[in-house]
Subunit: 439 residues, 2 copies
C-alpha cells in the first residue's frame, strides 16, 4: 500500500520526517572484493581484464579484443532502426545546443592596485564513461554523459560497457558514435573502473570517471577517487509531482509510474491539495501498472516508497518540496511558474501540464543526470562544468608587492610561518633587484 500523509494530521511532522530518512538503497559490502580486483588490474593489466571478462561476462576478450572496433560500431549504426537513429540525433542536437550555453568564461582583470588576476578554464584531457550492461544500459545516458564532455573540449572520451555473453546493445554503440565517443572497450564492473583509473597495456588511463553502475562499480569509483576524479555516486531516481485537482489523474499516474518502473528503489511522490484527486491518481496508478512491461518493478517501488501527501494549500507544500529536494519536480498547477520560482531545492523542475519529466530524460536538451536522494540541497545535475577545471592566475610587479606584501607578512607571522614571511620580505627588501627591475 502506498503511503498516504495528510498535512493536517497531528502526527504529520513526525511521519514526514521519518519518510524523508527512508533508505532506498540496499548496501552491499563489496569493498574487499573490489579492492582485490583493483589490485589485480594494477598488477596484471590486460591479462587480468581478460580473466575477469571470461569469468563475469562469459566473453573471450583475448580473441575478440578489448576494444570495440570502428567496424563493429559502424555495423551497429547501420543495423539500427532508422527511426531510433533519428531520435538519437534529434536528442543529441538539443543536448549539444543547451550545453553549449554552459561553457564558463575565462576572466582576466587588473585591479585598482595594478594586480593582475585571472581564472582560466580548461577541459579535462581524458574522461571515462561507464555504461552498465543489461536492462540499465541506456543509450540516452550515453548522450547525457558524452555530449557535455564534447562541448567542454575533452579530447579522449573513453567508454566501457560490459558485453554479457559477448552481446553489446547496438543502440548504445550508435549513441556513442553520434555523441563522438573516442574509444569503446567491452569491459565492465570494478575491473573496468580500475583499468580507466590506472591504465593497462591497451587502455590509457583517464583523469575522471563518470556514469552510473551497480554496487561494485560504485565501490570501485569511491576507491579510485583521488587517483582520478569521479562524478556523483547516483542513487535510485525520484520524482515529486505537485498537481492540483484540475489535472487528468491518468496523466499524473503515468508520470509517477515513469519513475517507479526504473528501479524497485525509485520513489514517486504526489503532493496535492485534494484528497479525492489523490485517490483518483492512486486508482489510475493501479490500473496502468497492470499493462507495463516492468510492472513488477513499478509495483514494488510504488508500494515501498511511493507517497501521496495532501496539503491544505501550496504555501504549505513549498517547505515540504524543499525538504524532499527531489531529483525531478513536476509542477502541474495553474500558477506553476510562480510556484517554481519559490522552490529552492530541486535537481530539475518541469513546469506546466504539458511538460512530463520524461521529456527531460530524452529530448528536452537539459541533462538527465541529476542529484538524487535529497542531494539537490547541495549539488547540481551534470553539466559542462563537470568536464572542465579552473586555474587561477596571479601576477604582481614590484610595486604591487610593496602594496600587498606587508599584510601578507603580518598574517604569515600571526600563523607562525617564517618561510612564508621571508618569501615576501626578501623580495620587498631587495626591491628592483630582480633582473627585470619591476615586473
Amino acid at each position: 500500500m502506498v503511503l498516504r500523509l495528510d498535512y493536517r494530521q497531528a502526527d504529520f511532522e513526525s511521519r514526514f520526517a521519518a519518510f524523508l530518512t527512508t533508505k532506498r538503497e540496499v548496501s552491499v559490502d563489496v569493498e574487499a572484493d573490489v579492492r582485490a580486483i583493483i589490485a589485480e588490474i594494477r598488477a596484471r593489466g590486460d591479462e587480468a581484464l581478460h580473466d575477469y571478462s571470461q569469468r563475469f561476462d562469459r566473453i573471450d576478450t583475448r580473441t575478440l579484443g578489448l576494444a570495440v572496433s570502428a567496424k563493429e560500431i559502424e555495423a551497429a549504426f547501420e543495423a539500427a532502426d532508422p527511426e531510433i537513429i533519428a531520435a538519437l540525433e534529434f536528442a543529441h542536437d538539443r543536448i549539444f545546443s543547451h550545453h553549449s550555453r554552459q561553457m564558463p568564461k575565462d576572466d582576466h582583470y587588473v585591479d585598482a592596485l595594478g594586480v593582475e588576476l585571472g581564472s582560466r578554464w580548461t577541459a579535462i584531457e581524458a574522461v571515462g564513461l561507464y555504461v552498465p550492461g543489461g536492462t540499465a544500459s541506456y543509450p540516452s545516458s550515453v548522450l547525457m554523459n558524452a555530449v557535455p564532455a564534447k562541448v567542454a573540449g575533452v579530447e579522449r572520451i573513453v567508454m566501457v560497457v560490459p558485453a554479457r555473453n559477448g552481446v553489446l546493445n547496438p543502440v548504445v554503440l550508435a549513441a556513442a558514435r553520434i555523441a563522438g565517443v573516442s574509444e569503446i572497450y567491452r569491459i565492465g564492473g570494478a575491473q573496468a573502473i580500475a583499468a580507466l583509473a590506472y591504465g593497462t597495456e591497451t587502455i590509457r588511463p583517464v583523469a575522471k570517471i563518470m556514469g552510473p553502475g551497480n554496487a561494485w562499480v560504485a565501490a570501485a569509483k569511491r576507491q579510485v577517487f583521488g587517483t582520478v576524479g569521479i562524478d556523483m555516486i547516483a542513487g535510485p531516481s525520484e520524482v515529486l509531482v505537485m498537481a492540483d485537482p484540475d489535472n487528468n489523474p491518468d496523466w499524473i499516474a503515468a508520470d509517477l509510474l515513469a519513475q517507479a518502473e526504473h528501479d524497485v528503489g525509485a520513489q514517486s511522490i504526489l503532493i496535492t491539495r485534494d484528497e479525492a484527486f489523490g485517490a483518483a491518481v492512486i486508482d489510475a496508478v493501479e490500473r496502468q501498472m497492470a499493462t507495463l512491461g516492468r510492472g513488477d518493478t513499478a509495483r514494488k517501488s510504488w508500494a515501498d516508497y511511493g507517497a501521496v501527501i495532501v496539503v491544505p494549500d501550496w504555501e504549505a507544500a513549498l517547505p515540504l518540496a524543499d525538504r524532499i529536494a527531489a531529483e525531478h519536480l513536476e509542477i502541474a498547477t495553474d500558477d506553476a511558474e510562480a510556484l517554481a520560482a519559490r522552490v529552492r531545492n530541486a535537481g530539475a523542475i518541469f513546469i506546466g501540464r504539458h511538460t512530463p519529466e520524461v521529456i527531460g530524460d530524452y529530448v528536452g536538451g537539459s541533462n538527465h543526470v541529476l542529484p538524487t536522494a535529497r542531494s539537490a540541497r547541495f549539488s547540481s545535475g551534470l553539466s559542462v562544468l563537470d568536464y572542465v577545471k579552473r586555474t587561477s592566475i596571479l601576477r604582481l610587479g614590484s610595486e604591487q608587492l610593496q602594496s600587498l606584501g606587508p599584510a601578507a607578512i603580518t598574517l604569515a607571522q600571526a600563523e607562525g610561518l617564517d618561510a612564508h614571511a621571508r618569501s615576501v620580505s626578501i623580495r620587498m627588501n631587495q626591491r628592483g633587484e630582480g633582473p627585470d627591475g619591476g615586473r
Copy 2:
C-alpha cells in the same frame, strides 16, 4: 638528500614516473573509530559531544556551553593585535571582491521550437566549516572558506573548532567575525563533523561541510557524504617553481621552503634549465632552513619529497608540469606569461619574479584552497560555485510536446520503458484536453 633528476639522463622517464606516484600521506585506519563516534552523536546528541570534548580536548563544554558566545568573539576581536586585524580586513576585502566575480548567472531562453529552458542558481542554505586546532589553525583559511559562502548568499555559516584545554585562537575568532560566520561551536574531530551532518539539540544540521582536518575529520567527512555534501579531501600542499638562472637563488629557496614548512608531507619542486642554478638554490635552502621556527618540518619535507629537475629547455618542462599538475605553480622566467598560457594542469599559477605563491595564500584575492596531489588534472580550487547549486527548468506547451514527443516515445520504447512512453503519448493523444488548453 633532495632528489635530483636530469631530463637528459637515460632513466629520466622511469625515475620521473616513480616520483609522480610517491605517496605523501600516511594512511591511518580510523574508519571503525569514526563510525562509532558518528553513531554516538546520532544517538545521544549534545551529551555525546560533551563527553567527547571532555575526553579528547579536556574541556568542560557542559559548563562553558558548546556555542562560542557573541561576547567571547567580541572580546577576541578587541584583544587582537590591531595590525593583524587590519591585515585580515585587507585580505577579506580582496577575497570578497575577487570572489564576487565568480557568481554564476542564471540563464533562461526560449528555443526555436518554443521550448523554455532555464538554469537557476541558488545558494546552499547552510554550510559547516571545519577549522583544525593546534598549529594548523589558520585564520587565513577561515576567510578562504567563509567569504565565498557569504558571496554566494549562504544564510548559515556554521564554524566548528576544537578548543584543546579550553583555549581558542583569538585570531581565528576575529577572522570568523570579519568573514561573517553565523555560529561558532567549540568542538572538533569526527564528533564535530557528525554534529554538523546530523544535528544535535543545540546544533542544527547543515547541507554541506567544508574545511581541512586530520585523519579522523577526513574519514568522518567521507562517511557522512551523501547525507551532506563535502568539499574535496585536501592532501598535503605542494609547489612547483619553474625558474631560470637569472633569479636570485635565495628568493626561490624561500618559496620552496614556504611549502615545506607546512607539513612533513608537503612537496617543493624546482624545474630549471641550469644545473648550477639548481645547486645554488639547494645551498640556499640548506642555509635558510636553519633559521626557521618550523625548520625540522621543512627539512623532513625537503629531504623526503623535494626535487630539483634540470631540463634542456622550457619546451621539455611543460609536459612535466602538466603531469605534476601542481597545486601551486610559480613561473619565474623571462617569458613567464607565455609559458603560463601553455600550462594546462595547475591549481593556481603565479607569474613573474615578484609574485611569490605566499601572496596567494593571504592577500592576492584568489582562493588558497586548491587541488592537491595531482588532482588539478580534474578539479578546481574552492570558489563561489562550491556554495551554490543549479536547478534546470523546462517548460513545454502542447505545441512543443507535439514537436518533441515522438522522439521521446521512440527512445523510451528503445529502452523498454513503457510508462515513460505513455507519460508522453497520453498527453499527445489528448491534445488540448488539459484545463488550460495549450500551456
